[in-house]
């Protein structure tokens, strides 16, 4: 890296301030989740009562379970479908591939409210009652795109040489994909899956439009709590959700290392070059 020709002091201070700005609300959430009193302004003592309220509240526990179920289903299905899509898009050189390349990006840049409304419309039209399944379907729709992007980034750096070699040795096309290509993509696939898990677990707007009433995921519940009467339980819920999401992504970052790759998982996820 070249020598900067001015001391980055201004930049350092500025960045520090921005980090402070980003973290202050997070500290508020975490700190006040341990407040012994209801107040969201004054810290009165240390207590786990909001966490115990959360774990003892059957509705919230139901929602937690629902959120996890949705995230797992979304992760599994979208990873399979998205990986296949990525492989197809990179290896094929047809016009179909080009068209789908673009189509695949669109869900990513569409505002969630639009995706939510269109999902609501099609479910209403087909007479499908809103339930946990409608949420899963909606989540999978945008998750496929995320998986495709992550896997595709990785795939682009892998040439066809190894697959060609496998075929020379007698493997069929399908076998060469299954036994050669997919294993080499595995870190990216896992990373994408965990990323999608975190996104689904945290999702609000799309879930809001496609949720039934008996299986409401946690963020939708939180919305009701905020709109209709907050208690500091919300901070406990937020903190716990943060831990779950961070763990998922931390795994996504660490897994490539576990596979003996020397690149950091961050590189795998963001597709940055070596």
């Amino acid at each position: 890296m070249s020598e900067p020709f001015y001391k980055p002091r201004f930049l350092r201070v500025f960045t520090g301030l921005v980090y402070l700005y980003l973290f202050i609300p997070i500290f508020i959430v975490i700190v006040f989740s341990f407040n012994s009193e209801k107040s969201l302004q004054v810290m009165q003592g240390f207590s786990f009562r909001w966490y115990s309220d959360f774990f003892n509240d059957p509705t919230l526990m139901d929602s937690l379970l629902t959120s996890v179920q949705i995230a797992v289903l979304t992760m599994v299905i979208s990873t399979i479908v998205g990986t296949a899509l990525a492989i197809g898009l990179v290896r094929a050189h047809s016009g179909t591939a080009k068209g789908f390349n673009i189509l695949m990006l669109v869900p990513l840049i569409t505002p969630e409210i639009v995706a939510g409304i269109s999902a609501l419309l099609i479910f209403s039209q087909l007479g499908i009652t809103l339930s946990i399944w409608t949420i899963v379907i909606a989540h999978i729709t945008f998750s496929i795109s995320y998986v495709t992007i992550v896997v595709r980034g990785r795939l682009a750096t892998i040439g066809t040489e190894v697959e060609d070699a496998a075929q020379d040795l007698g493997a069929s096309k399908w076998e060469s994909v299954r036994l050669v290509l997919v294993p080499s993509l595995w870190p990216a696939i896992v990373a994408a899956g965990l990323l999608v898990f975190a996104l689904s677990f945290d999702d609000f707007v799309l879930s809001f439009f496609t949720t039934g009433e008996d299986a409401q995921p946690l963020p939708v519940r939180i919305w009701s709590m905020i709109r209709f009467g907050v208690s500091p339980t919300i901070n406990a819920v937020g903190t716990l959700m943060m831990v779950v999401s961070i763990s998922a992504v931390a795994l996504a970052v660490l897994v490539p290392r576990l596979f003996g790759r020397r690149e950091s998982g961050v590189k795998v996820l963001t597709g940055a070059e070596e």
């Binding site: 609300p25 959430v29 899509l85 094929a92 591939a97 869900p107 840049i109 505002p111 639009v114 963020p219």
Partner: protein, 282 residues
């Protein structure tokens, strides 16, 4: 089976899913926007342009303009705040780069609603910020921060800034450092080097960041609902009301279509640049 057909089998599940469950529903929205409401308040498909006439009614145009205005303000602020941070991490982060990036991302793992609500707690009349100001004698009585347009834009910036910083970072990191060297020789001052060398070199990231922030910000309704007042009504709130309160799905659909058309212009612009390599492909 020919080579092409083989790979097509890989594309079809995902492609068909997105086509059926994303593209087709969007068409339904478009179709419903030409409909009307029946006696019971249900949406009925039809061929009227009434909803579009309503969208451009002088009562609602300010809502549309306001949403675009807030989103633009959000993008500009995100860019002003995000670029220096991305630059610092990419060029001066050294071996702490990835740790800094990870730290940057952590706040965004707290749910968007909870994060925004934390700002409500911070900025409310009896919140921490006001308490601090009053205690320090800087204010006689609490200043009203929330339920204002500033709070809404602030909430939007806070919610989406990560989508500006990450692409910027990618772009800056990929920049060849020797280009800056050359720029130093050519232009002399750091400021001019930045203007004529760094900025253009990172325009792919800037474009991606702007698009990734602008598009969702236009349709956001959470920020306006939690932090806004009666005069910060955004198109997202208007649409949400049509579906859940006013029971006018056709009008809500028309609003959605207009919003999508407006955003589609930017989407196409971005996708074209991306396929030409001029924008960061995500």
């Amino acid at each position: 089976m020919t080579s092409k057909r083989f790979w097509d089998w890989f594309i079809f599940p995902g492609g068909i899913w997105i086509a059926l469950l994303f593209a087709v529903p969007l068409c339904l929205v478009l179709a419903l926007s030409f409909g009307h409401v029946d006696d019971f308040g249900r949406g009925v498909y039809g061929f009227t342009l009434d909803n579009y006439k309503d969208v451009f009614d002088p009562t609602y145009v300010p809502v549309l303009l306001r949403s675009v205005g807030y989103a633009l303000a959000t993008v500009i602020l995100c860019l002003l705040i995000g670029y220096p941070v991305a630059y610092f991490i990419a060029r001066h982060g050294g071996r702490y780069r990835y740790a800094l990036l990870a730290a940057l991302v952590i706040p965004f793992f707290v749910n968007y609603l909870v994060r925004t609500y934390a700002w409500v707690a911070l900025l409310s009349d009896q919140g921490l910020v006001n308490n601090l100001l009053v205690d320090l004698g800087l204010a006689q009585e609490p200043i009203q921060f929330i339920n204002t347009p500033f709070a809404v834009v602030g909430g939007l910036v806070y919610g989406y800034i990560i989508f500006m910083i990450l692409p910027l970072y990618g772009s800056i990191e990929r920049m060849d450092p020797s280009v800056i060297e050359a720029g130093k020789d050519l232009y002399g001052s750091p400021f001019r080097t930045f203007l004529h060398v760094t900025l253009p070199a990172t325009q792919a990231g800037i474009l991606a960041g702007c698009v990734l922030v602008f598009l969702p910000a236009v349709g956001d309704f959470v920020s306006a609902q939690l932090l806004g007042g009666p005069d910060t009504y955004m198109v997202g709130n208007l649409i949400q009301d049509q579906f859940f309160a006013a029971s006018n799905w056709p009008f809500g659909s028309a609003l959605t279509v207009i919003m999508m058309l407006f955003l589609a212009v930017w989407m196409v612009f971005y996708l074209r640049r991306a396929s030409r390599g001029e924008a960061e492909v995500l």
